[in-house]
C-alpha cells in the first residue's frame, strides 16, 4: 500500500509536543515508527499529523531510581536488551526487549512505542506486568504514573506522551519466554514471570486478547513447586474464554502453550533465585 498523506513536525521540547498533540485533530506521536508506520501503510491507522519526538533528550536514558530502574521512553529496544542494569535487575524486561522483531526493528523501535502500541503484539508490556512496573505519562496536566497493568488495558490517553517505564528491581528471579509468529515475529504467546516473596507474578500475551496478569494461576502456584505438570494444571483451571484464537492457532493450543512457556520461565527464574 502507498502511505497516506500526513503532516509532520519536530517539536523542540516535550511541552511543544504536548501542545501539538492536544491542539491538532488526528495528531499522533512518532517515536521509532516500527508500529505506527506499518499500521499507517496498511490503512489500519490514520494520522493527519505526526509529532516526531525522537530527538527529545528528556525522554532518553536508563538509570537507577528510587523505585528501581527508570527507562526513558525513547530508549531503543536494542539498548534496553543490552543494558547492564536492566539485565541484572529486570532480566525479563531485557529479554522481552530482545525478543522484539529483528535487529533493525530493535535499533529503531523504542520502549515507549512498544508499550504504547499495545494489544497482543507487543512483548515489553507483558514483562512490565510481571515486574509490576509503572508507566510514566506526560500530558497537559503534567506528569503522572499508572500501573503497567492499567496502561495495558486503557493505553495512552489522547494528547499524552509516554515518558518512561519505571521498573522495580528484582535481581535475577524473573524470566521471559516467547514463541514468535514466523511471519511477524510478534508473540504467538509470550509470558513473563517474576518470583517475589509473596509468590510468583505471571503475565501472558499473544494467547490472550491483551497482556494480562493471571492472578488465578499465581494463586494456584503460590509456594511452588513450578513443575511443568503443576503449572499446566494451574493454567488448565483458568476459564476457557481467557485464551483467544490467533491466526491459525486454536485457543486450546494457545492456552497450553502459555502454560508451557510460563512453566519454563518459572523454572528458569526459580533456578536463578536458588
Amino acid at each position: 500500500m502507498i502511505l497516506t498523506e500526513f503532516d509532520y513536525v519536530r517539536p523542540v521540547g516535550l511541552d511543544e509536543a504536548l501542545a501539538l498533540l492536544g491542539g491538532t485533530r488526528g495528531a499522533k506521536v512518532l517515536a521509532g515508527g516500527q508500529s505506527l508506520l506499518p499500521a499507517l501503510r496498511a490503512g489500519e491507522e490514520s494520522a493527519r499529523l505526526l509529532v516526531d519526538v525522537r530527538h527529545l533528550e528528556e525522554l532518553r536514558g536508563v538509570g537507577r531510581s528510587a523505585e528501581g530502574i527508570r527507562i526513558g521512553a525513547l530508549t531503543t529496544l536494542a539498548e534496553l536488551a543490552a543494558h547492564a542494569v536492566v539485565l541484572a535487575e529486570a532480566p525479563e524486561v531485557a529479554a522481552a526487549a530482545r525478543a522484539n522483531g529483528d535487529p533493525q526493528v530493535r535499533n529503531l523501535g523504542t520502549a515507549g512505542g512498544n508499550l504504547a502500541a499495545g494489544g497482543r503484539a507487543t512483548d515489553l508490556a507483558v514483562a512490565a506486568l510481571a515486574a509490576d512496573a509503572r508507566v510514566e505519562l506526560a500530558g497537559p496536566g503534567g506528569r503522572w504514573t499508572v500501573p503497567a497493568e492499567e496502561f495495558a488495558e486503557s493505553g495512552a490517553p489522547a494528547g499524552t506522551v509516554v515518558t518512561a517505564l519505571l521498573v522495580p528491581a528484582a535481581g535475577r528471579a524473573a524470566a521471559f519466554e516467547k514463541t514468535a509468529d514466523p511471519a511477524t515475529l510478534y508473540p504467538v504467546c509470550a509470558t513473563a514471570v517474576r518470583i517475589t516473596p509473596d509468590g510468583p507474578r505471571i503475565a501472558v500475551t499473544g494467547a490472550t486478547a491483551r497482556p494480562l496478569r493471571l492472578r488465578g494461576v499465581e494463586e494456584r502456584l503460590r509456594g511452588g513447586p513450578y513443575t511443568t505438570e503443576a503449572v499446566l494444571a494451574a493454567f488448565r483451571a483458568e476459564p476457557r474464554e481467557l485464551f483467544v484464537p490467533g491466526r491459525g492457532t486454536s485457543a486450546e493450543y494457545l492456552g497450553h502453550l502459555a502454560g508451557v512457556l510460563a512453566a519454563r520461565a518459572l523454572q528458569r527464574a526459580d533456578q536463578a533465585l536458588a
Binding site: 500500500m1 496498511a42 514463541t179 509468529d181 514466523p182 511471519a183 511477524t184 511443568t228 491466526r247 491459525g248
Partner: protein, 801 residues
Amino acid sequence: MTAVTGEAPLQGSGVLGRPMDSREDPQLLRGEATYVGDVNLPGTAHMAILGSPVAHAKILSIETKAAEQMPGVLKVATAADFTDVMPLPCIWIPGGVESHFPPHPYGLPGARPVLTGDSVRHVGDPIAVVVAETPRQAAAALAAIAVEYEPLPVVTRADAALAEGAPQLHEAVPGNLNAYWTCGDKDRAEAALAEAEVKVELDLVNQRTINSPIEPRGAVGDYNAATDEYTLYASTQGPHNHRFLLAALVLGIPFNKLRVIAPTVGGSFGTKGYLYPDMALVLVLSKALGRPVKWVDTRTGLMNSTVQGRDHRQHVVLAGTRDGRMTGLWATSYANLGAYPSTIGPGVATALMGRSISGMYEIPAAFCEVYAAFTNTVPLGAQRGSGRAEAAFLMERLVDRFAAEIGMDPAAVRRKNLVPNEKFPYDNGLGWTYDSGDYQVNFDKALELSGYADMPARKAEARTRGKRLGVGIATYVAICGVGPSTRMSQEGMLGGTWESANIRVNPTGEVTVTVGSASTGQSHHTVFAQVAADELEIDPAQVQVYEGDTLRAPYGQGTYGSRSYSMAAPAVALTARKIKAKLVKAGAVFLGIPEEKAVYAAGKVYEEGNEENAKTFADLAMAMWYGWGLPHEIEPALDETTHFDPPDFNYPFGTHVAVVEVDELTGETEVVAYTAVDDAGHIGNPKIVLGQIEGSITHGLGQALMEAAVYDEQGRLLSSDLTKYALPRATDVPFFTLGKTTTPSPHNPLGAKGAGEIATVPPAAAVVNAVVDALSDLGVQHIDMPLTPEKVWRRLRGEAQ
C-alpha cells in the same frame, strides 16, 4: 568423458571454477542497482490496476465517470478500450494430449485477456486501470470505480473443480479440465501394484506457495510517436521472449517495433518469465496518452497476481518386495492451475512433475496421471524447483513409508534402489533419459557428512531434553537445461528453447560478452566473464558482460529452470573458441608463419618452437580492428555469435539429510542440522553456486515449515502480505553442511548441469520425513505441510490428521 555435442571438453586457463566474488553484489547490497521502479522517464504517468475483490462473478456494469473526475487522472480504461489487444497466449501446454484453453484469435491456446470484461475469475483479476499524474492519484481513483457484480459460486481446489456440478470458469473448458495427462506405463504399473508383496499409499497435499522475490514486478511502457517504436522496461527474466510474445501474439505489432529492456531484476524464482496484463497495458496506454506509463506492483498486489507455485493433491502408491526392492510406482495428481493458464503453467504442472517422480531410483514400472484443472485462484506457474520438488516430495515420502512398512532402514532401502552407474544414460520410463550420475557416491557422501550412523545416540540424548529428534533423507533428480528445442516441442512447448552468446573483442583488447539470457540475481556478469576469460586465457577483469536489452543482445530465451550456466555459458565458450580460431588464423598471417605453426596460449599467438615470434591478444585485437594486411578469406574484426541448442537436457541430482528436533510440549520443529550433497556437474563459480544452494535449501524449508497460500471458501487469499505469509529467515535455519560430487553432463561442452534451484527440490521431503521419523513411535505416518507447531502438537497428543 566424451561430449556427445562433438565438442571437445573445456580445457581453459583455470579461471573457470574459481570462487570469484560476484561483480553484481556490491551494487545490489548498496542499493545502487537500477530496478524497474527506478526507471523514471521524463513525463511519466502512473498506472494503477483495479483487481477484482471477489473470486468469481459476472460483471454487470463498470462505472468510471467518478474516477475520471478525480485529481490528476489522465485516463480510466476497461476491457472495452482494449478490443484490438489480443489475449495473452499460453505457450507450454500439456504435451501429447487433448487440452482445453480459453481462445486466442490465432488458434493458439489462450490464457487471459489484458483486462477482463465479462467475468472475474479470481480475486485480483484485473478489471480496469487508471493512469494519473502520480501513483497516489492513480491508486486513489481506483476506489471511485464502481463495479456491479453478479456473484457466482467459487471453487478453489482442483479436485473440487472437476466434480459434477462444480462452478464453471471458462466456456471453452468443459468441466474445468485443462488436460488429463499421463506418462509411464499404466498397465505395467497396475500389474506391479497388483502383484506386489508390499504396497504403501499416501494422500498428499503439496500446498500452494507464493513466490516472494524481494522486488515485486513492474513495467514501464514508452511509445515514441516519431518512430512508431515501443520500449518496455520490465522485471523480466526473458526479454526476447517477452518481446516476441507481446509483439506477435498480444499487440499485433511488428517485432522490430518493440524493444524490451530488463534492468536489474530483484529475484524471480520463476515468476518473471510469464506474460502479465500490465506489460501490454503500459505499452498501449503510453501510445494512447503520448507519455511513458509506469506501473510498479505492491506486495499484496504481487500475492494476488503473480504466478504461484506447487498446489497438487495426490494419491500415490509404491509397490515393492519385503527385502526392500521397489517394483512399482503410481501417482494420481490433481493440479490446481488457478483461474487462467499462465504462460507456461500447464507444462510445469504436468511434464515437469510427472516425468520426474521416480527420482534417483530404478523402478521397473512407474506411472503418473495428472488432472490439471482451473479454479478461482491466482494462476499457477513455476516456483524454484517447480514440478521436480513436488515429484521428490511424493517419492521420498513413499520411500519412508515403504521402509517403515517392511521394517528396514530408510537409508538402506534407498541405497538398494539407486540407479546403478552402468545404466547411464538411464531411461526412467517416464520420459526422461538421465545423462550421467554416480548416485551411490553422492548418497554415501551425504550420509557420512550428516553423521547418519550416530543418529540413534543423538535421539536418545535429545529425549533427555524433552526433544524428539528425527532424521529425514531425501534424494532427487532435477531435470534442468531446458533445453533441446525439438524435444521441448514434443513436450508441448510452443517456442524455441536454445540460448545464445556474442563476443566482441574491442580494438583495445578488452572483451564484450553479450548473452541472450537475463539474470534475476544469478551473477551472470561474473560467471560469463569467467567462461570467456577461461577459454581465451585472459584476465576476467578484461571481460565485460551485457544482457537484458533486446536491442543489444543476441536472440535468446532468458533464464529459467536453472538453465543459464548449462545453456548460455556453453554458448559463450563455443563463441570464444570461434574467436580463438580466428585469432590463430589471422595471427599466422601477422606473424608470417603457416597456420599450422601458430599456437594459441595464455592469450597470445606465437610460432611453434619460437615463442619470441608472438602477438599478444591486444596486438591482435587492434590489428583485426584495422584489418590491414588481411587476406580476402579472413574478415576484419572479432565478432562472433553462437546459438546453442543441446542434444538433450541435463540431470543434476543429490542427497539431503535433515535433522529436526520436535519439542514434546509445544510441537515446535527446529531444523538442527541439514546436510546437502548436490551434483551439478562442473561448476563455474563455486561461491555463487554455494549461495544458490543455501538460498534453495532455505526456500525448501520454508514450504516444509511455514509457507502456505491460504484461500478461504470465497476464494479470498488470506495470506496476502508478509505479515500473514511467513517466509523463512536466516534465524530459522541451521548452518548447512554442504558437500558436492561432480558428474559432468555430456550434453554441453562445459559438462555443466543446472544448479540455481536444484537444492530447493528435496528439503520439504527431507524435513517432513524427519518429523514423521521423530513421531513414528506414535504411529504417525504423514503430516501435511506446513508443519506448524499446533499441527505437530495435535499429532503428539495422538490426534488424527
